[in-house]
């Protein structure tokens, strides 16, 4: 009996302490693992320079972050969702259903997506989106006809590429990076090789054809990586011919292990991405629940601090880490200061 009362009182005590602290005083952030490093750098500096506690930043992917963001308003839901893609209309609708009406969209800058192989591996210095489509697409153009992809080596379709087996490690479908890869690489390559037109000639409309373009071959030469870039790095390390997809910041931290591939003759760097000459890049965002401003201490200050020149400017720590700073940062700063919401 004694132990039963003891247990009951222990539970009551814990429950009481739990409820008492429900008045949350720290900002809760979740979402894209690409934005996580930037968010953590800002959160750390925010905790150091302001009298607010350091925000909590969780990862898990853009989609899962936005899902949690749209669960509702209140201290029990997150305040900010990080995303490596724009919020979808479907997600905005879910948000509205659950009472999350006023959403502030903040673009923090651009992230480059790079292709890299092992340091001692083959050098890919002549990539075009068409080559990647020929290597990885489900169906490719051969002799003017659309056939199942049977290419085994890179130099079979582009003599400037090395005589190496095709083996690519691409981000899995839960990553926001995958969408950029599909749009800017596969779809672009699909159109360049003429496969897009061939799909349409088969009776598909534009939408169905671009969907077909994004299909990746399934014979094991293109491997989906659902984990993080560290997993891709490990796979590259054990595959001398492998090519992997990385974020620019990750590559810049691991230049001793990776050899970067050029795209259309341009090597990726913050400069070439900023001027648009390197084609594969995407904007990064975070979304703020306006209803939480004023309720959660420091929320607006955090958003303003994130896009301030000190942090997100071209000389700031975010750029130092690998973010391509946004040329329209001043507009973003104004929008955050005025708490402009999405329409």
């Amino acid at each position: 009996m004694k132990s039963v009362t003891l247990t009951a009182s222990a539970i009551a005590l814990l429950a009481a302490s739990g409820t008492a602290a429900l008045a949350r005083d720290n900002i809760q952030i979740a979402g894209s693992s690409t934005v996580l490093p930037y968010a953590s750098i800002v959160a750390e500096a925010f905790g150091e320079n302001f009298d607010f506690p350091t925000p909590v930043v969780e990862s898990g992917g853009s989609s899962s972050g936005l899902k949690r963001f749209c669960e509702g308003v209140g201290e029990n839901s997150i305040d900010i969702a990080n995303a490596s893609r724009k919020i979808k209309d479907k997600e905005i609708a879910t948000c509205a259903e659950n009472g999350v009406k006023d959403i502030m969209e903040v673009r923090i800058g651009y992230d480059g997506i790079v292709f890299a192989s092992q340091k001692d591996g083959p050098a890919f210095t002549a990539f075009e989106p068409a080559d990647l489509y020929n290597a990885l697409g489900a169906k490719v153009m051969k002799d003017g006809k659309l056939v199942d992809n049977t290419y085994g080596k890179w130099n079979e379709f582009n003599a400037n590429l090395p005589d190496a087996d095709i083996m690519a490690f691409i981000p899995g479908t839960k990553h926001g990076t995958r969408e950029v890869f599909e749009e800017k690489v596969l779809e672009a390559g699909c159109e360049a090789t003429g496969a897009f037109e061939a799909y349409k000639a088969e009776g598909m409309d534009d939408k169905a054809a671009s969907k077909a373009c994004m299909k990746v071959r399934t014979d094991g030469k293109a491997v989906d990586i659902d984990g993080d870039y560290t997993e891709t790095l490990a796979r590259i390390a054990s595959n001398p011919d492998g090519v992997g997809v990385f974020g620019l910041a990750f590559y810049e931290n691991n230049t001793d292990k990776l050899k970067v591939a050029t795209m259309s003759g341009i090597a990726p760097s913050t400069a070439t991405i900023a001027d648009g000459s390197y084609p594969v890049s995407r904007p990064l965002y975070f979304y703020v629940k306006k209803a939480h401003i004023g309720e959660i201490p420091g929320l607006k200050e955090y958003a303003e601090f994130f896009v301030s020149d000190d942090m997100a400017g071209s000389d700031g720590p975010l750029a130092q880490y690998g973010l391509v700073s946004d040329p329209e940062l001043a507009q973003t700063q104004d929008a955050v200061a005025n708490e402009t919401t999405m329409q």
Binding site: S3, L14, E44, G47, N49, V56, N76, Q320
Partner: protein, 450 residues
């Protein structure tokens, strides 16, 4: 039956114990083969253990060393205190971005005074040598004591992770051609400053006691706060799982009638013990966070989830310990007039205690190493940043746990975090090992055999 008559005529086999016949030889051979296989199996096991441990120690031991720079910093009033009134509210407006150049200037002075020849003539070019944490270290010191403004104060600041990696042999000169975070000239300067005694390696106590750091400051990251998170979770597990588990098993073992219903419960408890831990994580998310509205990322919720996971282990080991107490003890107690409850609590339970404690400690050790359920309740990420203020706050303020922190470090981009992940594994293993040793000592000391 006819065999006997048929076999009778053949030669009598040797019955001597000294001469070994063919059949005995075969039996002996198969026995020694089995022994050899057993030794081989143990040998492979030991080889893997040695490989694992040596890899961990080799990769992780460097995390306990860190590179520091001694810099005298002139706390320039013109920069820090523009209004000149030493008012704390105004001083706070000078952010870490104001302090960073002061430290770079300080280091440049050191370089000049030591007469080191280098191509790096601007203070800004020394930025890559210094950890970004230094600015906040200096700022905190000034805010704590504004009277220091205007003086030149000696600071021991962290070197950047690239410089640290260079001194540890991780960053090599041949590999940095593409690296924008360090240059060859900066490495030359590092060597010169090391000879001058300005840059030196030391024991890294911040790794054991410090908080997590952001992706750009691998050199500052520590496991201390997540260690606290693990500690608070273990407190919750101990406070809930031990009494509930022991009460449940005493009832099931000593009081409950044996019928289909208790059989069903028994089967379910065994099944629960085998349920993957991620399932408890989902349960915790939906029950404790979404339904009961407990705070996210809190060790309290983590502890509750791990309690659910540990309960079956404790119940099973407690029941085994109760079963091991001979019935004669119960009979004797009942025989002299004790009630059922008295016989259990005065005689059976104390005798079963060593077994119960062993089971509990092993259950706790399991819970300590668990990451999967914590993924779902928000304890993985950039979370373990603030040391909780006070005991109660420790249960509810956001925190991580040691295995979750190690997982988080292992996936970050800067290779310096990788070294820290291995270092974290060493600390986690020390904890697990000492818990298991305590379990063994308890068992040795108090176990009774009948």
């Amino acid at each position: 039956m006819s065999d006997a008559t048929h076999s009778a005529p053949h030669k009598p086999t040797s019955r001597s114990l000294h001469a070994v016949d063919a059949r005995t030889k075969r039996r002996n051979a198969s026995e020694s083969r089995f022994k050899a296989m057993g030794i081989g199996a143990i040998g492979i096991g030991i080889a893997f253990l040695v490989l694992l441990l040596s890899t961990i120690v080799m990769n992780g031991s460097s995390a306990f060393q860190q590179t520091f720079i001694n810099v005298p910093v002139y706390l320039d009033p013109a920069k820090i205190d523009k209004k000149g009134n030493r008012d704390l509210a105004d001083l706070k407006k000078a952010t870490t971005f104001t302090y960073a150049p002061l430290i770079q200037n300080g280091l440049l002075d050191v370089v000049k005074k030591a007469g080191i020849e280098t191509d790096l003539s601007k203070a800004k070019e020394l930025k890559n040598l210094i950890s970004a944490s230094a600015a906040s270290q200096v700022r905190d010191r000034v805010l704590a004591d504004p009277s220091l403004i205007g003086q030149t104060i000696d600071f021991k600041i962290l070197a950047s992770s690239r410089v640290d990696g260079y001194l540890k042999g991780r960053v090599k000169r041949a590999d940095i051609a593409q690296d924008k975070n360090i240059s060859v000239a900066q490495l030359d300067l590092t060597d010169a400053l090391r000879e001058a005694g300005v840059i030196h390696k030391g024991f890294n106590s911040a790794f054991i006691f410090g908080a997590d750091a952001s992706d750009s400051r691998a050199e500052q990251a520590g496991i201390g706060v997540s260690m606290l998170g693990s500690f608070y979770m273990m407190l919750v597990v101990l406070a809930l799982a031990l009494p509930i588990g022991v009460a449940a098993s005493i009832y099931l073992e000593e009081f409950a009638a044996k019928n289909r219903f208790t059989d069903l419960i028994e089967v379910n408890i065994s099944n629960l013990a085998a349920v993957p831990s991620i399932v408890f994580g989902i349960l915790g998310l939906s029950v404790f966070i979404q339904f009961a509205h407990l705070p996210q990322s809190a060790p309290l919720v983590g502890g509750l989830v791990l309690t659910l996971m540990t309960l079956p282990t404790i119940i099973i080991s407690t029941r085994a310990a109760l079963k091991a107490v001979p019935p004669s003890i119960r009979d004797a107690a009942l025989g002299v007039g004790a009630s059922k409850m008295q016989s259990v609590f005065h005689h059976v339970l104390p005798l079963a205690m060593p077994g119960i404690l062993t089971g509990t400690i092993i259950g706790l050790a399991q819970a300590l190493g668990e990451t999967a359920p914590l993924l779902l309740i928000g304890m993985v990420g950039y979370v373990a940043t603030n040391t909780p203020d006070g005991f109660v706050d420790g249960f509810v303020s956001p925190n991580s746990a040691m295995p979750a922190q190690i997982y988080e470090w292992a996936k970050r981009a800067d290779p310096a975090f990788y070294e820290r992940a291995w270092g974290g594994i060493i600390i986690l293993l020390v904890f697990l090992l000492s818990m298991n040793i305590i379990a063994i000592i308890l068992r040795r000391k108090f176990e009774r055999r009948w």
